[in-house]
Symmetry: C2
Subunit: 356 residues, 2 copies
């Protein structure tokens, strides 16, 4: 499959580029997209870069009924030297195939997908925004296209990549968020799809998020589905706590998504000789640590925000404030280091960045 | 909303009808479909019956990324007196809105949706197959269409209804199936989406089903996600057991779908004065009951198969055979009664059928 070529059809009309200072997340898309088809007879084939355009599907397509779809989220950054950098893209392609496997979607050649992504970025290179904190968000995804209502894995698919220029996640600098500890709704349970990036996981999360928003909280803290006691994720991010001098994050247990930013934070902390451990963490422990003055910081990690400091948790009727609601020192240091590496402003001792 | 009219555009060319003796499930669709749009400004609007055709969507539509979609499954039957009957359709429309609520999809006027369905069936009435065991399968579904990659409920949707002539589920009469008790993968957990008919629930189920099929079993028995001890559903059906003289079915616990056929079987058994109880049932209890000779029958219930008798369970390394692998007397009696009511061959003392 790596041998196949990509047909390129350029857009005859180019769209106006958005004002980089007014970029929102995921609403504007570049002039082109990547698309590849899968059929049982031909495997993955028909790879093409083509003008961004609507797709036409039979209304009986599996995706519309059984949600057999997975995705990834990545970013490309334009450096001061006019180089385009990706951040650990091979990790995302690897995870895409893990997600594919969980949903019975045929494997994609990771190297070929990465090549295709690079070609697509080169075609739309002028869309990469240049303002502070901006980047080109990358959305690879796979959808099931067979028109068949039987509950079975589709026999045809589309793998696509969209590009979207995005602004800084923090319009006014990194700012701590308020988190609602969710006691009723559950994101995932071991044996389910929580460790894969499936479309359905995100649909399931909307209700709790909506309720949290109504209550004035910006994200939900998900607890485990079995005992509703242990911390899993925060919103669509992994979560870290600094208790005393030690940093802790929930250990991957089959229902937590293995975030690329999570992995990178762990590596960075070890590199800095900061004590860090992956283990089960109960929400009770966090509230106890807060009471004892041991809870120094908490932050979410993910591709969109990179690091999202947490200023408050509400659990049942009790709320705790962290670091006086200010961004913690460690969160700030990690955010600066990661974004500096991603943007090529700081040396990358890990070999994480990949030039397009 | 009930006040709105439905624009009807008839197909100029009609497709050939399939041979009723060779009908498969969910592969052939009628000449028309129903479609209605939702926007925040206009609510549900633009109701139309139009020729069955592909739909065109932005590749950034929420459905492709976050699987925000729900569906229903129903059937229409043509009676010997040439009447068209639906079976408890108001129950499906009610459940559609429960599913909508779980996934933050705006409510649909149930009465209007049922009217729309009746109109659509009338337009494609000649597609209802007439052979023994055949029917017109009805697939109402809602998909999220906003082109936006933020994880949030879509602000635009399509509600559609497709019709598909289907054959008898049992080509050679009702035949017991072999069931694999699933110990690793989990369908749903309380606090998740198990009690709603969401697209993602079905994507999650594919892997376990694929493994069971490879092992020669036709469906999976899902256990609870917390203790992996209690029985939830079988494949995409609810499940009943006859132990001694009593019929038992798992009690609705928040992770089990409330099947319309399940409800009807409960009503029918009560009507017949057969002792029936909804409660927690462990898989261990079932295997014990088999050992003691108390386990008389087991069967799944759902719209597609109506009643699906179970001939064998495999749990870890142990398998048990029920009723010598033959269809049980009770399963047969329920199947005959329900299908006779559905097809208008027997009096409907419950008022379940609705004439189109």
């Amino acid at each position: 499959m790596s041998e196949q070529t990509i047909t390129v059809t350029l857009a005859t009309e180019k769209k106006p580029k958005p004002d980089p200072s007014k970029l929102e997340f995921g609403k504007v898309f570049t002039d082109h997209m990547f698309m590849m088809d899968y059929t049982v007879e031909n495997g993955w084939h028909n790879a093409q870069i083509l003008p961004y355009q609507p797709i036409t599907l039979d209304p009986a397509s599996v995706i519309f009924h059984y949600g057999q779809a997975v995705f990834e989220g990545m970013k490309a950054y334009l450096t001061a030297e006019d180089k385009v950098l990706l951040f650990r893209p091979e990790k995302n392609m690897e995870r895409l195939n893990k997600s594919n496997d969980r949903l019975c979607i045929p494997e994609i050649d990771e190297e070929f997908a990465l090549d295709a992504l690079k070609q697509l970025i080169n075609v739309d290179r002028e869309w990469i925004p240049t303002g502070e904190g901006t980047s080109l968000y990358i959305r690879p995804f796979v959808i099931s296209t067979q028109p068949f209502l039987g509950v079975a894995a589709s026999i045809s698919y589309k793998f696509m990549i969209l590009l979207s220029p995005v602004g800084s996640y923090y319009k006014e600098g990194v700012k701590p968020v308020k988190i609602f500890v969710e006691n009723e709704y559950v994101r995932a349970v071991a044996g389910g799809t929580g460790s894969a990036k499936t479309a359905g996981n995100y649909a399931s999360s909307l209700k709790a998020q909506q309720i949290a928003t109504q209550k004035g909280y910006s994200q939900v803290l998900w607890l485990d589905g079995v005992e509703k006691k242990y911390i899993e994720e925060v919103g669509a991010m992994n979560v870290f706590f600094k208790i005393g001098d030690e940093v802790v994050t929930p250990v991957l247990n089959g229902s937590i998504l293995e975030g690329v930013t999570r992995r990178s934070v762990l590596d960075l902390l070890k590199h800095w000789n900061v004590p860090v451990v992956e283990r089960k963490i109960s929400v009770e422990e966090i509230f106890e640590a807060s009471k004892n003055g041991e809870l120094k910081e908490a932050f979410g990690t993910g591709t969109a925000a990179v690091i999202s400091p947490i200023g408050e948790f509400l659990w049942n009727e009790t709320s705790i404030t962290l670091n006086n609601g200010e961004t913690g020192e460690l969160a700030k240091k990690i955010y600066d280091t990661l974004t500096n590496i991603q943007n090529g402003r700081e040396e990358d001792p890990f070999g994480w960045t990949v030039e397009v």
